[in-house]
């Protein structure tokens, strides 16, 4: 049995609902992106708000707030098999109760904890690696993360620039975080989205920053391996000072 759903979080909760009603794990759970033709029996799971709400409402009281948080963060992962991993964890957790999220050694908990770690890790890196450009008094940045990290970046940047309007465009997930006039919201990216080319002042600060970056490295200690482990090359394309080094 394969579940197909719309890729949304409530949709996933309906898959959880279905699986618990049937007391069985599906072979796979496919979103709109991961769906593929297969010989296995497939079932389309419709997204129903009341079912999703029932599952969501049970997480914290039955499994504890930590488990609820874990599920939320793990679902932001970009890994294709995340749904099944989380579902497995939920079956184990509802059978076991509150301790499940703390059982780092359990074969059903460890993979979900790893998903969460990857999501939080990438979000933390991006709090540093996001590069804004100033255009017409607004800040604009482009990122290409593996995981859907905008919800994690939101409190960080809204807190940091409370009086600035800004936009962070996630090209992987075609979504933008827009903060304008003190309120933040998500918006779908138009297909032809691009940041405006830098004006003279912006170009000057980019040049200053690049120069600073090139100067601060010590030649006698040149160590590209360590740089790559801390700052993987997949981020370089969106980072002002590293764009040209690729």
């Amino acid at each position: 049995m394969i579940y197909r759903y719309d890729g949304s979080y409530p949709g996933f909760l309906c898959c959880v609902f279905e699986s618990f009603v049937r007391k069985a794990l599906p072979l796979a759970i496919e979103g709109p992106e991961t769906a593929q033709l297969s010989f296995f029996d497939g079932r389309d799971i419709p997204t129903e708000a009341n079912k999703a709400a029932r599952v969501e409402a049970s997480l914290a009281p039955v499994l504890g707030v930590r488990a609820e948080e874990l599920v939320h963060y793990a679902f932001l992962s970009g890994r294709p098999e995340k749904e099944l991993l989380i579902l497995r964890f939920l079956h184990m957790a509802f059978a076991r109760g509150r301790g499940a999220a703390w059982d780092y050694a359990h074969p059903d908990a460890a993979p979900v904890l790893d998903l969460e770690k990857a999501v939080r890790g990438e979000a933390h890196l991006l709090t540093g690696f996001v590069r804004f450009q100033v255009a017409d008094g607004m800040l604009g940045a482009v990122i290409r993360p593996k995981n859907y990290v905008l919800p994690l970046l939101r409190p960080h940047f809204c807190g940091r620039y409370p009086d600035k309007d800004f936009l962070i465009a996630d090209l992987t997930h075609r979504t933008a975080l827009v903060y304008q006039g003190g309120t933040a919201d998500y918006a779908e990216l138009p297909p032809d989205f691009a940041l405006p080319p830098p004006d003279a002042e912006e170009a000057e600060y980019q040049a200053l920053w690049k120069r600073f970056y090139q100067t601060i490295g010590i030649r006698e200690r040149y160590n590209p391996t360590v740089r790559r482990t801390h700052c993987p090359k997949r981020y370089w394309a969106c980072m002002t000072e590293l764009q040209d080094e690729r």
Partner: protein, 446 residues
């Protein structure tokens, strides 16, 4: 002079300063100002030498009145000189900050005229940032030895972290290499900062609006390899500094020759990167693993083992005290096991409340079984059955010291490997030869 040129000169002069961390303080943003801080700190990029760039690290000026012989900015050195005006630097910081290039400012300076004048200019820069621009990001300020206590006080009320460079590991070396700075001139502000930070912490508990003095604590740094101190001396000094001045961090920087001077190592000396690395490893053992300096290095062996990290070295010398039962051992003992770090130790404590741990579970937790297997027992595993000592040593050796995985000779390889490679042997073969010899030697000693 153009801003680009100034920035180039003044960041080039500051690059040998090690500390670039933005940690130790949580401060939320606020309407009407810009910036915030997060306690773990944030790295914004990594330089070509692999070091984290978190702060805009510049000197306010590199026009120096002193003549410390190891320093690029010393008076007698012929380098281009420049100074920022306080407003120029405050503006640049803000522009970089809003583009998310940096977490804040790391402000240091050469001694322009005298320590007081220099500090006044630093205070002015920070005042503009904090009070005119309402900047709430991170500021690390370097106290200039010899500045008056009143100015250090002003600096500390504007900065988040302060540091005073201890420069060299002993008073003798200090007198020899930087005749203008005395040990006392360094330790006095350090003591003042420590006392003031503690005092302000107490006051803030009593009344909410008490002014914060260097709320992210203080750090220091020293140069390693320019003078003859042993590793043990250096580590004991760090331990003392952590205790006496409640420092957050001690940084070590491998000496890179910037000048010819008969008091210094020859100009073609390679920076002792492996030694610096071992010092940091030991420093971590002091701060996160409950080790003491005298456990890590003894009087008989006052220097680090180039082939083993200090924790593995300790484990081999105390092999008889293992295995540790992962399911019952207290945290301090878990932390002594090679392959278990602070994170996996916490996870073990949490997971073993849920169920007895076996090897598979430990692997999932993130324990490095390649090393840990010889030092633990757990459910279904009574410990490695009398393994050959060579096997244990081999598992613990630090591959980096033997030039593993590098075609070219790495700066991190052990001195003996560098020597062999220097005599014409391909580095990888040199590494393997030394490794075989080391395995046999340590297995015998165990």
């Amino acid at each position: 002079m153009e801003l680009l040129q100034k920035l180039t000169i003044l960041s080039d002069s500051a690059k040998y300063d090690v500390a670039c961390t933005s940690s130790g303080l949580d401060r939320a943003g606020r309407h009407g100002s810009m910036g915030s801080c997060t306690a773990p700190g944030i790295c914004h990029t990594f330089a070509s030498d692999g070091r984290c760039v978190s702060l805009l690290k510049v000197l306010l000026s590199n026009v120096c009145a002193y003549d410390c012989c190891y320093c690029v900015n010393r008076r007698s050195n012929d380098v281009p000189r420049a100074s920022f005006t306080p407003r120029e630097l405050a503006d640049l910081t803000l522009q970089f900050y809003q583009r998310n290039y940096i977490e804040g400012l790391f402000l240091s300076s050469a001694v322009q005229l005298n320590p007081d004048h220099t500090t006044e200019r630093m205070v002015e820069t920070l005042r503009i940032l904090r009070q005119e621009y309402h900047f709430r990001g991170y500021i690390h300020a370097k106290a200039i030895p010899g500045a008056s206590p009143e100015l250090v006080e002003q600096l500390g009320l504007l900065a988040d972290r302060m540091s005073v460079n201890i420069e060299l590991p002993s008073e003798r070396s200090l007198n020899l290499l930087c005749p203008d700075k005395g040990r006392k001139a360094i330790l006095t502000p350090m003591g003042q900062i420590a006392a003031r930070t503690a005092q302000s912490r107490e006051e803030m508990q009593l009344y909410r609006r008490a002014p914060a003095f260097a709320p992210a604590g203080q750090s220091t740094q020293m140069i390693v390899g320019a003078t003859p101190e042993s590793d043990r001396q250096i580590l004991r000094l760090s331990e003392g500094l952590y205790h006496k001045y409640s420092l957050k961090r001690v940084f070590y920087s491998a000496y890179i020759p910037v000048t010819e001077d008969r008091r210094l190592p020859a100009a073609d000396t390679k920076p002792p990167l492996l030694r610096e690395h071992r010092l940091y490893q030991a420093d971590w053992l002091l701060r996160f693993y409950n080790f003491t300096a005298s456990e890590i290095l003894t009087e008989e062996e006052p220097n680090f083992n180039p082939y083993l990290d200090p924790k593995c070295n300790w484990a081999i010398q105390h092999y008889g005290m293992f295995p540790v039962d992962v399911n019952t051992a207290p945290k301090e003992w878990l932390l002594r096991v090679p392959g278990i770090g602070p994170k996996s130790a916490l996870r073990i404590l949490s997971a073993r409340r849920q169920a007895q741990l076996d090897l598979e579970g430990l692997r999932r937790i993130g324990v490095v079984l390649k090393r840990a297997q010889y030092f633990i027992c757990c459910k279904g595993y009574g410990g490695s059955r009398s393994p050959k000592r060579e096997t244990v040593v081999r598992a613990l050796l630090d591959p980096m010291a033997f030039n593993a995985g590098c075609e070219q000779l790495s700066l991190f390889s052990a001195p003996q490997v560098q020597q062999l490679a220097g005599s014409g042997l391909p580095p990888q073969i040199a590494g393997r030869m030394v490794q075989e010899e080391v395995v046999a030697r340590y297995a015998q000693k165990m």
